[in-house]
């Protein structure tokens, strides 16, 4: 049913899968780029020239310096310039990338877990419970995700943990619907009928038999949604409701530089903007490739 199931066992199976993935050069470049960005984000505290979240390391006298300027005091060279508080843009972008990725993946994992449980339960229960859960999901999907997240954050206040919560609340319904759709198809298949006749308990059927067979489709949805979650986080930060102003993520950096765009100080907005664009593009290209691979009918399209 998927490439993973068809391939050879063990390590060779992974290599074969990677080789198959890399048949599409663009997707291969995107994956490499994504891994590099993830590595840079992970290593930010060690490779960034400055800790942009430590106010003691900032100097207002270095505010809004163009790329390549030297700090008024000390050895630092601001390779990508500084923002309005004298923050090194390169460091701020590395730390911002870290926040964006962490928030994006944590929110996706949380929403996936919640959506999975709700969707499976809904499919398995059927009847009025199914109808009820799906109407709740419909209701939620009728509101734009940004609106739900905005309202929640306005109530909860700023902070990375709260952004993750808001994103989970905004996105779980996508997964619930996707899982339910797949599970409904799987439920009617013979192997489920077989284990039911064996008299296995519903939780066992759910997690041991139904879940693994729904996963491939979900992985595709989740990869796409990571990109969406990161973009949503950036939007919320851009609107000023996401993170504290002293810990800018990519969206907040773009927002801070926005007002300087017309006055020629392009670097405050443009560099984080390009980084965000690259990150989301890479993730979407990877997700698209996975979608093609996991759904053989689309192969070659």
């Amino acid at each position: 049913m998927s490439m993973f199931a068809r391939a050879h066992p063990g390590r060779t199976r992974l290599i074969a899968a990677l080789a198959r993935y890399a048949e599409n050069r663009v997707a291969a470049v995107a994956l490499t780029l994504f891994l590099l960005l993830a590595l840079a984000a992970f290593a930010a505290p060690w490779i960034a020239p400055q800790n942009p979240y430590d106010l003691a390391q900032l100097d207002i006298l270095d505010a809004r310096l163009p790329p390549g300027s030297a700090a008024a005091a000390g050895e630092l060279t601001y390779r990508l310039g500084t923002d309005a508080q004298g923050r090194d843009m390169l460091s701020a972008m590395l730390y911002g990338l870290r926040i964006s990725l962490t928030v994006g993946f944590a929110a996706t994992a949380g929403a996936l877990a919640l959506g999975l449980v709700v969707g499976l339960a809904s499919a398995l229960a059927g009847g009025s419970i199914d109808a009820f859960i799906m109407r709740v999901a419909d209701l939620q999907l009728a509101f734009p995700a940004i609106l739900i997240a905005l309202i929640l954050l306005a109530a909860l206040g700023p902070g990375p943990g709260k952004i993750v919560l808001a994103l989970i609340a905004a996105q779980w319904a996508y997964y619930a619907r996707a899982v339910r759709g797949v599970a409904l198809v799987e439920r009617e298949k013979d192997y489920i009928a077989a284990v039911r006749l064996l008299g296995l308990a519903p939780p066992r059927i759910l997690f041991v038999h139904l879940l693994p067979n729904c996963l491939p489709a979900l992985i595709v949805v989740a990869t796409l949604q990571v990109g969406a979650a990161i973009a949503l986080e950036a939007t919320l930060s851009f609107l000023g409701v996401g993170l504290p102003v002293t810990q800018p993520s990519l969206g907040l950096l773009i927002a801070n530089g926005f007002q300087y765009l017309l006055s020629g100080k392009y670097w405050i907005s443009v560099f984080p903007g390009l980084l965000l664009l690259t990150l989301i593009l890479a993730i979407n290209l990877v997700a698209e490739r996975l979608r093609v691979l996991i759904n053989p009918r689309l192969d070659g399209i």
Binding site: L55, I60, A84, P244, V245, Y260, L262, K265
Partner: protein, 522 residues
């Protein structure tokens, strides 16, 4: 992705707008920087509302661009005895509906603020002092106060005169719809589109001289970038509150003309000075301290010395402010020339903190608004940065005005940014540092609940003084006392800025008001 797409669309849209719309020579479109919530001049006491009302209505006393009181609908005023002010009204003034303005309208307009329902910021602090209103004849009104009260003419610059005939039973909604928006001002109401624009037409019978504009539109452009873009595109003729990053560009562009002036607004820190445990000061590990360090004068001096006002003004404010050690701007009652801005002295700050028993500092959260004052959010961050150098572990929390003022008033903060515009030091102190007492309207913005009997006495003496020189003396002593105590930490006076297309002129105003009647073709 969607964020970026939206930005691209916005850019394309902005370019598409560059084709300037054709307008008649006697039309004026002005971009306002803040939302006007109502055209009821007695609904909300906030600069945007009051400035919008000033197009349609007049007050008894007007304020000139330099902050001096000049005759409005009253030709003259004087204290006939210590508790009675007499106002002589201008004769022959007509409302927009043709009826004549008389003393009856004055009494009605002074009564009305107390009757407005659901006001988010009432005008009653200006009318509360009036105990009795007496119509001597159609053009003379006497106002009695329970105690001598000097600033009454100043208070009345903010109370606009409405028509008793048109507004007798009128609600705020009737003003917004235009039914009751009948004033004596230079422009007549045409339309009010909430959150969008206010349209006005010239009042040809205006007593103060015919304005240069037949039709005026006040467009509400609260987004900084949008306001600049609208002017660049020619959609508006002038804007107020020019975003600081754009000022240099407008200055160097011969197609525009920039006007700026030190505004009456002082930006400063309010501190929790009343409670021994304050919510946002802890030790560096986040544990509560035995006492609130902000109550120690040495700590307040240290915090003030740790702030490099010159750097703040030059870098964060990009030169659009002047550092200050005063509460009100030069040239008005209560300004003390001897009070210079506190010099930046990091070593001295650390020494004072050590003397006060905090050699390693403490942790402090700075609160501020992010959509009220010029660069407010940046200023909070910069000050946090400066305090960090003195050994304070700082956190910054900024929020929109809608939640900020309410929380500050409830005493939820320890160290909070506030801006205050006033044309007298004694009235400013009455709101900012006098012992809070809602019954008499004192200390309404005294967020730290500072209380000093000596200061209260001086403020009361100044306010009760109708002799200008003696009042200035009391007000000056009150300001000196407050500053010696560092009861608040002043930062700077901000500039008010306007930029307009070439061929227009505007006299910059100290009160930051943008008034279409004072724009002239050159």
């Amino acid at each position: 992705m969607s964020t970026l797409l939206r930005l691209v669309y916005a850019a394309v849209f902005a370019c598409a707008l560059t084709a300037a719309q054709a307008r008649d020579a006697d039309d004026l479109v002005v971009g306002f920087a803040a939302d006007v919530s109502s055209l009821d001049p007695h609904f909300l006491n906030a600069v945007p509302n009051v400035a919008a009302a000033a197009h349609i209505f007049d007050a008894l006393v007007h304020v000139d661009p330099d902050g001096k009181l000049v005759p409005g609908l009253a030709l003259s005023w004087q204290a006939v005895d210590p508790t009675t002010w007499e106002f002589k009204l201008r004769r022959g003034v007509k409302f927009h509906d043709g009826s004549e303005f008389t003393a009856e309208d004055v009494v009605f307009s002074l009564d009305r603020p107390a009757k407005v329902v659901n006001s988010p910021g009432p005008f009653t602090s200006y009318t509360r002092q009036i105990a009795a209103k007496q119509v001597v004849d159609a053009y003379t009104v006497r106002l009695k106060t329970p105690a001598p009260y000097g600033p009454l003419p100043l208070d009345l610059t903010t109370i606009y005169m409405v028509s008793k005939k048109a507004a007798a039973q009128a609600s705020t909604e009737d003003f917004n719809a235009g039914r009751a928006a009948v004033g004596t001002g230079p422009f007549k109401f045409v339309a009010f589109r909430r959150g969008e624009s206010i349209e006005l037409a010239r009042n040809d019978a205006y007593w103060g001289g015919k304005p240069a504009w037949q039709r005026v539109t006040l467009r509400l452009l609260t987004n900084d970038a949008a306001r600049t873009a609208a002017l660049l595109a020619g959609d508006v003729d002038a804007i107020e509150a020019v975003p600081t990053p754009d000022i240099a560009r407008f200055k160097s562009n011969p197609a525009f003309r920039l006007e700026q002036k030190v505004s009456w607004r002082t930006i400063f820190w309010q501190m929790d000075l009343s409670r021994d445990q304050t919510p946002f000061v802890t030790d560096k590990a986040g544990r509560p301290l035995p006492h609130n360090p902000l109550r120690d004068l040495r700590v307040r001096q240290a915090l003030s010395k740790a702030i490099n006002r010159q750097a703040l003004v030059e870098r964060t404010m990009e030169g659009l402010a002047i550092a200050t050690g005063n509460i009100v701007i030069p040239g008005i009652v209560g300004h003390v020339d001897a009070l210079a801005p506190e010099p930046y002295d990091l070593a001295g700050a650390k020494r004072l903190l050590a003397e006060a028993g905090y050699p390693d500092g403490f942790a402090l959260t700075l609160h501020g608004p992010n959509n009220r004052y010029v660069n407010d959010e940046q200023v909070v961050q910069t000050v946090a940065q400066m305090l960090t150098r003195a050994g304070i572990a700082t956190r910054v929390e900024t929020m929109p005005l809608s939640s900020y003022f309410g929380r500050a008033r409830a005493g939820e903060f320890s160290f909070a940014l506030l801006g205050w515009g006033s044309l007298a030091g004694d009235s400013a102190l009455r709101s900012l540092l006098a012992t809070p007492n809602p019954d008499i309207g004192w200390g309404g913005f005294n967020w730290g609940r500072y209380s000093n009997a000596e200061l209260d006495k001086l403020v009361r003496a100044a306010l009760g003084e109708t002799d200008a020189a003696r009042r200035a003396d009391f007000a000056g002593r009150a300001v000196q006392l407050a500053m010696a105590e560092r009861a608040l930490i002043p930062l700077y006076h901000q500039y008010a800025t306007w930029v307009m297309r070439k061929g227009l002129a505007y006299r910059a105003r100290v009160d930051e008001f943008t008034l279409a009647q004072f724009f002239h073709p050159q």
